[in-house]
Structures are given as structure tokens and as C-alpha cells.
Symmetry: C2
Subunit: 419 residues, 2 copies
Amino acid sequence: MASQKWILMTTAQTPTNIAVIKYWGKRDEALILAVNDSISVTLDPQHLCTTTTVAVSPMFQSDRMWLNGKEISLSGGRYQNCLREIRSRASEIEDEKKGIKITKKDWEKLHVHIASYNNFPTAAGLASSAAGFACLVFSLAKLMNVQEDQGKLSAIARQGSGSACRSLYGGFVKWVMGNEKNGGDSIAVQLQDEKHWDELVIIIAVVSSRQKETSSTSGMRDSVETSLLLQHRAKEVVPKRIIEMEEAIKNRDFLSFARLTCADSNQFHAVCLDTSPPIFYMNDTSHRIISCVEKWNRSEGTPQVAYTFDAGPNAVLIARDRKVAANLLQRLLYYFPPHSDTDLNSYVIGDKSILGDVGVDEMRDVEALPPPPEAKDQIPAQKQRGAVSYFICTRPGKGPVLLSDESQALLNPESGLPK
Amino acid sequence: MASQKWILMTTAQTPTNIAVIKYWGKRDEALILAVNDSISVTLDPQHLCTTTTVAVSPMFQSDRMWLNGKEISLSGGRYQNCLREIRSRASEIEDEKKGIKITKKDWEKLHVHIASYNNFPTAAGLASSAAGFACLVFSLAKLMNVQEDQGKLSAIARQGSGSACRSLYGGFVKWVMGNEKNGGDSIAVQLQDEKHWDELVIIIAVVSSRQKETSSTSGMRDSVETSLLLQHRAKEVVPKRIIEMEEAIKNRDFLSFARLTCADSNQFHAVCLDTSPPIFYMNDTSHRIISCVEKWNRSEGTPQVAYTFDAGPNAVLIARDRKVAANLLQRLLYYFPPHSDTDLNSYVIGDKSILGDVGVDEMRDVEALPPPPEAKDQIPAQKQRGAVSYFICTRPGKGPVLLSDESQALLNPESGLPK
């Protein structure tokens, strides 16, 4: 360490992901090992991602972290596990231009600063911890010149948050539960990249909720301890579904993909309900969105849209193509219009171009939308104004990337503190 | 048949029942044979019952039935099954005073009139078909002098509506699923009569709902065909629970009774959710009632109240004794006050004497109720005005009875038509 004034920084961006075969239940709480395999779709980081800057400097007195500008504690076991695992694999680096050399031994004593930012509301229940831990591990590994493949990094991210391991890849990703006691083989693998099935369009309905939700950590612990259906699901149901889902994705077979996605989401919530005390993540609005999609799919004769819900009331809706997505958004805006003082620009975010396909330019167009044809037997088709906070239009996306443009760093290159 | 002008009538009253180990899924659709045993509590007919008058006369041209004053068709298979099974077991009767004699042969040609009345709203989802078919079979059997024991009658009522077989007894009743192909051993048996555990108090919250509900007949068919959890529940989970529940009832062990009742209700709804398309019977209000009970039970250290939900959003709450019931009603009225124009007299029905224990005489007392102590961490404890339509206070009750007082008959003794 030639000079004592330098700061070395790395910035990365990591996507979030949505499971289509769900992870629910750990067989090892500390290592975060799952009771079954799971499969996810990585979401386009342009609309939903975490950006993390990690920095190292001999000037830093301790490891520190800021999330969305606010300092948070790193003392939790999950952060500590990720930091320890990455540090233990750090390699020597040398930057002759800047006159920096860090040996493997040096890394044990050097402290890091971490700044992380989600481009979506953290509290909205959109798997922010998955993207967050994936980005932490990915950026630290780059900074510390860790010589491990992406699979090994996924096993480290897994120890921060189970589903984080799936955010190490783009496209369609499987988290293999593995067999080893130390979790060495409990890693994520990419099934297909994001270009494989790029017609898919994803609309997320962020559902308003006044209920305080059960955290997924304590929820799945309760399920493992009390649900009499969970083990049957993990041992008998999911293994078959994993094989079928891999086939469906490989063949771009939307019918099977939708059938499996919806069934597995519903079964995960069934296991939550079978827990003592029961866990309710979906609310009446979630139920109405499901009913709307089921009715439409039935009226079309073949599935147009798949739905899946994580540990919260938000619906993630996967449309088979862009045309279907426009029809879906039209239905969603019809049934779930915003409160009258809402700006359309903040009610539909992400890839707003779909609004053009719907023929909606402003709020008055939303109010003028006709009822969907399959709603004809409901007189009048009930509108639920304000039940949805906003919609995010997105698609399957790529995995983690390094941001080489220093202006995108979240830490000041002089002070190592948040900008 | 000496004179051709006579009418012979019988009137009976039959209770409804609420399952504490649920029946969900048939192994034979036509005979209504269940995939698992179930256990129920019979509800006091004073508050929830069906009254049925059946009449026979050579003057009647066809079998006819009136439900709550409105004529309904008897052509459905379920009515036809019950009528056929009872008729085939009819015995000779002779009333020398009235000069009436009906031979076994005569019964084949004679027609019946049936008038049935529920002392509770039919559409409220309170198992009206259970009480209805039980009463139909019980009263017809009496009228036709059927020489069968109550178990055999329960097997006939079962062919009208599965859960109807359990309404042939008071107290605590088991529907044994049986093994025989013809359903001859699929009958109800009384586990304990209503005096065995008479401290229990039951409060039913009739929950407001705008959703059209899936009928239990089509719902359970869909579950049998599509749920991957249902068979596991029926084969592995319920048999053990049946044994434990029988023990709990025998020993008046409220802790086990409550634990099993709540877990089995939640598992039944979990199977509904695991169905394709998923079935949602509980709504946000149902969930809030569960959360309220779970929180209170936890704060007391041992269960005070058990909850169970049938194929609808209504909560059936079983309190361990009257004092607990008063505390429960106080909580319910606090969290779920009526709209301001509601009369207290129509908001709490059934055994209103519990209102006195709560110290509530009029609506202003409801508004003045203090928040429950366990709600202290919610500021303010959220009230859901109008989410409950009304409460029914009741208790475990007796089985079917004959009403000998002719003034209680629902058919005119001269015309054989509804009064």
C-alpha cells in the first residue's frame, strides 16, 4: 500500500428477479439452504435494479454501508457472512498507474464503504433484498479481485438472502438446492439468457396495503415448523414442476409456463395459509387481479397472461407478447383506475411505450376505457379505484453489470462517503 | 285409504352444523362420499335451524316444495335421491281416529308437499343446505314411518348434501367416510351430546361480501381434480387430526380443540387456494378476524377462541366459556362497528344476553368501547366499520326434533299449501 490516501471503487448494477417456481422453506437457517429448487425470471434492470458502489481505502476506520442514502448497520449475520466469504477469497491487486498494491493479507485489515440504491421503492415488496445482496457480493468480488465463477458468487449471495443467488444471472435462472451440508452446491445456474424468450412482457401491479406483512424470513420458518403441506410440496410436487418448467422455458411453451407459474404461486400461498398462525400475503385486490386474469385466460381458450405473487400483495403479470400486454394493461387500468388526483406518468412507470399501444395518453383516456368483453356478465364491472398504487411495465432482463462510468458511482471518490 | 280428503302432516326442526375438521372433496359425486372423515359441532337450533313440514294426501297431484315461501323445483338429483330412498323404506301406517290407512304399496303412488323455512338468511353462507336436507329426510322419515335408525337416515341425508348427515345429531358429530362402494357405511355418528361440553359459546360474524362465491359443489370438484395437496391432506393429515379431535372433545381439552380447529380451517382454505383456478372464500375481513383472534390468543398464552370458516367469508368463533365470549364480542364490536344507522338489536342477534356481560345496551356503548389491551402497539387500532353485516351469538345445540304443536306447521292442514 504505497500511498495512504487512495480510494479504490467499483460500481455495479444488479437486477431483481421474480420466482415462477417458488422458494419457501429453509433446511438450514444459517447457510440459507432451501427445501426445494426454484426458478426465476430476471427483471430488466432498467426498470428494477440495485446499484451499489463499494470502496476500499486505508483511510476507512470500519466497514460502513448506506442504503438509499441512509446509513444502516452491517452487524447482521447476513451481511457479515457475505463480507467474510468475499474477503476470504480476495486476491492481490496492483494498479501501477495509481500506485496501489493490495496483497491478500492487506484485505483482512482494510475496511470497505458500501453505498446501495434501489431504483424502485424498497418497501414495495419487490425483492429488494435479492437485488441488494446480489449487487453487494458482485461488486465486492470485483473490487477484491475474487477469482471465482458466477456460480460460486451466487452461493455467497445466497447467504445474504436466498433469492439473491438467482439475481447473479439474466434471463431464466434455477437455484439448485444442492445436497452438500456446507451449501457448496446450492448455487444458481442460468437456464436461458434474456434473449431466448424476449417476446414476454411483464407488468407489475404494486398493490396498496395497510396490513403489516410477515417478513419472508420468519414466515418461512413458521411454515417449515408448522405446515403439514410444505414437506409434501417440497418433496413431491416441486421436483416434477422444476422439470416441466425447464422444458416450458426451453420450448417457449407459454401454455405450460403460465399453468405452472400460476399453480406454483397459488401453492406457495396455500402453504402460507397452512402455517400456524396463518400468513396472508395476498389481499382482496390480489384476489381480484387473479380472478380478472383467470376469467380472461378462460375466455381466450388458452392462457394469455401468467400471474405470480411473492411475499406481499403485488401481482407480477407475465404477458405472452407485447400485444397481449397492451390488452392486459387496458384491463388493469379499467378495473383499477387511480384516484382522480393521480398523474398518469406516475401511475404507469417503466416501459411507458405500452401505454401508446393501449391508446392512453392522459387520465381522461383511462376513464373512457370500455369494459373488457369477458366482463359483460358483470353489470356493472366493478372498478376498484385506488386499490393499485402504480404499475411497472418491464420485461425479462440481463444479469449484473459493472458500471465503468465513474459519474455513476454512489460514493465520493475523494471522501469515500455517499455523494 | 278410507277417505280421499285427508292430509297427514309432520313438522320437524333440524339444526345446522359447523365442521371443525373439514369435509372437502368427494370420492363419489353421485352418492356424495367424502375423501376423508369430518367432525362438526351442531349449532343451537334456537338460533340457526330449518323447520320443515311434510304432508301427504291423496289430493296432491305431484311432489312439490316451498323454501322460505317460494316454490322451488324438486327435479334435481339430490332431492330425487332423498325422496326415492325414503319412499322405498316407507312402512304401513294406520290412524284409526282419522280413519287413515296407508300401506307400503300406497306410498309409491302418494305425493308429498314440503315447506321449509330457515330462521337465518339462506344466502349468508351458513350451511343452510345441511340443515335443509337433514330436516327434509328426518321429517319425511317420520311421516312415512321409516323404521331405520338415525345413522341410516344420515346416509340418506348425505345424498342431499354431504354435511347434512352431521345435522342428524346434536352435540359433536363425526361423519365417517366409510369404505363401501354404495356408501352404506358413510354415515354420521354422535361423538358427544350437546350437554357434554356446554360451556362453549359460539359467535358467528356474518361478513359483508361483494364477491360472487364458488359453490362448494363445484369448488370441491375442482379441488379434487387439480389440487396436488388435497390427497395428501385427505390421506395423511386428516386421519391423525380426527383421532386427536375426538380426544380433545372427549376431554374438553380446549387448547387442542382450538389448535386443531384453526389449523384444519386454514388447511381447507389452503387446498382451495391450491385449486386451479384458485378459490378464495375468505376475504380481507376474514383475515382481520383471524389476526385479531391469533393476536389475542397469543397475548393470553393459551387459546381463548377457536375460529373456523366454511365456503364463504363468515367467521365461526368458538369461545371456551361465556366470560371469554363476552371479551370476544367486545373485541369484535370494537374492531367491526356497524354503520351509524344500524340498530344494535339487528347487529347482534341470537343469544343477546351476552351483550349485557359486555356492558353494551345501545349503539353509543359500542362507540365508547376501549381498544383491547393487546392492540396497544397498533396506533390507532384500525376499525373496519361495516365490514361485518351482523353477529349471531349461539352455542352447541341439540339434534332434530319433531314439533307436535300443529300451529308450528308450515302447511295449511286443509289445503296442504303453505300458510
